[in-house]
């Protein structure tokens, strides 16, 4: 039983990191219908920014998270302006291929020796890892930080999207772009902001990932990126609570597969769950089934 609870905690921790990435995927998809493959790489850049902030500039970790968030927000907005905006009216496949191109570019560019370099680096921990024992389940202060920061960010995002003018505009644009224009909303600006916020969350996710699984390298974003996207689809793409739910499910399923079945099969099981959910409920767990107009 305590083993089960322990794995559940581990799964939730992974799920929360996925959630921070998945939120960016789902917001961007909701607004421009683009699978932003480069998003996982933004997450990776966030981890590196956190690394530099702490290891090279000796900043405290809350500041490191902020640095990563700001840096990633800028990166996300630059990617959107340079690579995606020119293709807004092009066939969707062109935008998708471009996203893959951007993703490969970031991976291979940061892989160069004078940038981050291919060698994995140990993520610094500015404090000792302490373990608390709660009835047979051990929880580290790292886990507490991961839970705390991600919950804080998710609450903040939910508040922002639901209760601010810009958040309202983001929802409006994701529902109906033309009508949003008729309301006087500058749709391009909202799209850029969305990329910025999504990327900032991924940046924070990168730093937390570094804390929890303390090794980073330039290709570290690929698999978490894919899984976070899958999580977003699982929960119902474009739906913010869906992304959180899907991410937690992915994290837990993955951890349980490793713990009870085989760690080499965990990706297969995670994606198997995705395919089954899509077949039963093509628009995801919280998604609304759509009807085609004749």
């Amino acid at each position: 039983m305590s083993y089960f609870l322990q794995q559940l905690i581990n799964g939730l921790q992974l799920g929360f990191v996925y959630a921070l990435i998945a939120l960016g995927y789902t917001m961007v998809y909701g607004i421009v219908k683009l699978i932003n493959f480069a998003h996982g790489d933004v997450f990776m850049v966030g981890a590196y920014l956190g690394f530099f902030a702490m290891a090279n500039w000796a900043l405290p970790f809350p500041v490191a998270i902020l640095v990563a968030m700001v840096g990633c927000a800028v990166l996300g907005m630059v990617i959107e302006r340079l690579a995606y905006k020119p293709l807004r009216n092009a066939p969707r496949i062109s935008a998708l291929i471009t996203a893959m191109g951007v993703s490969l570019f970031i991976e291979n560019f940061t892989n160069l020796n004078f940038v981050f370099g291919p060698a994995p680096r140990a993520f610094p921990r500015p404090f000792a890892v302490r373990t608390f024992n709660l009835g047979g389940v051990s929880i580290t202060n790292i886990t507490v930080i991961v839970f705390g920061v991600s919950i804080l960010l998710m609450v903040a995002l939910t508040w922002f999207v639901n209760s601010t003018k810009t958040g309202r505009a983001m929802r409006a644009v994701s529902m109906d772009k033309d009508t949003s224009r008729l309301m006087g909303i500058d749709v391009d600006r909202i799209i850029t902001i969305t990329f910025g916020i999504g990327s900032a969350l991924a940046g924070a996710g990168g730093v937390l990932f570094g804390f929890a699984y303390p090794q980073i390298q330039p290709l570290m974003g690929i698999m978490p990126g894919l899984k976070a996207f899958v999580a977003a689809v699982l929960g119902g793409i474009g739906i913010i609570p869906g992304a959180m739910l899907g991410a937690v499910i992915m994290g837990v399923v993955e951890t349980f597969t490793s713990a009870y079945v085989s760690s080499t099969l965990r990706d297969a099981v995670a994606f198997g769950v995705l395919i089954i959910v899509l077949l039963v409920r093509p628009t995801g767990i919280l998604g609304r089934p759509g009807r085609e107009k004749v």
Partner: protein, 241 residues
């Protein structure tokens, strides 16, 4: 008001719009004056909605010019046009279904200062008292008539000089159509000019001051509403007589 506008709010000259190889508007011209209700009537596909979408910046014209208050607005982005005081209530209402009535109204006032929103809302509720009761409900729970009212109220939240309405009667029962049209007249009396696109020619001719008849992307007939009510051509094509 700027001098060159001479009481003309909106003037459209030789407007051409194409979708790919298909030309939807072949150079149409019309004007809307200060305080007027002007209506465009015509069959499905005659180019009425395209005209409104070109004026409000949703589609880019390939020729001609559009002036609002004397200023060129063709080619300007849609959100900038709204700021000048020109709003469009789109065909099919297009409410933000997942949002509440209040949020829909707030979005209508997107570019207005926060301080005036509650005052504008109160003013709008005078025309649409039913919406006040439904403020907290999501738009998806409203009936067709209420959705049309929401769309119009949302348009008014921007405090427009000119409001364009696309097919407000669509899918509504005759009694509701009556109600909607009397609200339109009332909005006009309170000082907002109206450009109305309608298939329901009877009602359109009743509330409008002036009328333009569109057929396959061209203006084929225009005049005062009274003149056109008697036109045999309008009678046979649109009034089914």
């Amino acid at each position: 008001m700027t001098q060159q506008s001479n009481g003309v709010l909106l003037s459209v000259k030789d407007l051409v719009v194409s979708y790919g190889a298909i030309r939807a508007l072949h150079g149409i011209s019309f004007e809307v004056g200060e305080g007027e209700v002007v209506t465009l009537i015509g069959a499905n596909g005659a180019g009425k909605s395209t005209t409104l979408n070109a004026v409000s910046g949703l589609v880019r014209p390939s020729g001609g010019e559009i002036r609002f208050l004397g200023r060129r607005i063709d080619g300007k982005p849609g959100h900038a046009i709204v700021r000048l005081g020109l709003t469009q209530v789109p065909e099919g209402r297009r409410p933000f279904l997942g949002m509440t009535v209040r949020e829909n109204l707030q979005l209508g006032a997107f570019n207005r200062p926060k301080s005036e929103i509650s005052e504008t809302m109160d003013r709008v509720f005078k025309s649409f008292p039913r919406l006040k009761e439904r403020l907290g409900q999501t738009a998806g729970t409203l009936s067709g008539g209420e959705l049309q009212m929401l769309a119009m109220a949302r348009g008014l939240m921007a405090r427009p000089r000119l409001m364009m309405l696309d097919e407000p009667s669509m899918g509504l029962s005759p009694i509701l159509v009556q109600e909607i049209f009397s609200i339109i007249s009332e909005i006009n009396r309170q000082g907002t000019s109206i450009l109305l696109v309608e298939q329901n020619a009877y009602m359109a001719l009743r509330v409008a001051h002036r009328v333009y008849v569109l057929e396959t992307g061209e203006v084929v007939l225009s005049g005062t509403a009274a003149e056109l009510r008697e036109s045999p051509r309008v009678k046979s094509a649109y009034l089914g007589e």
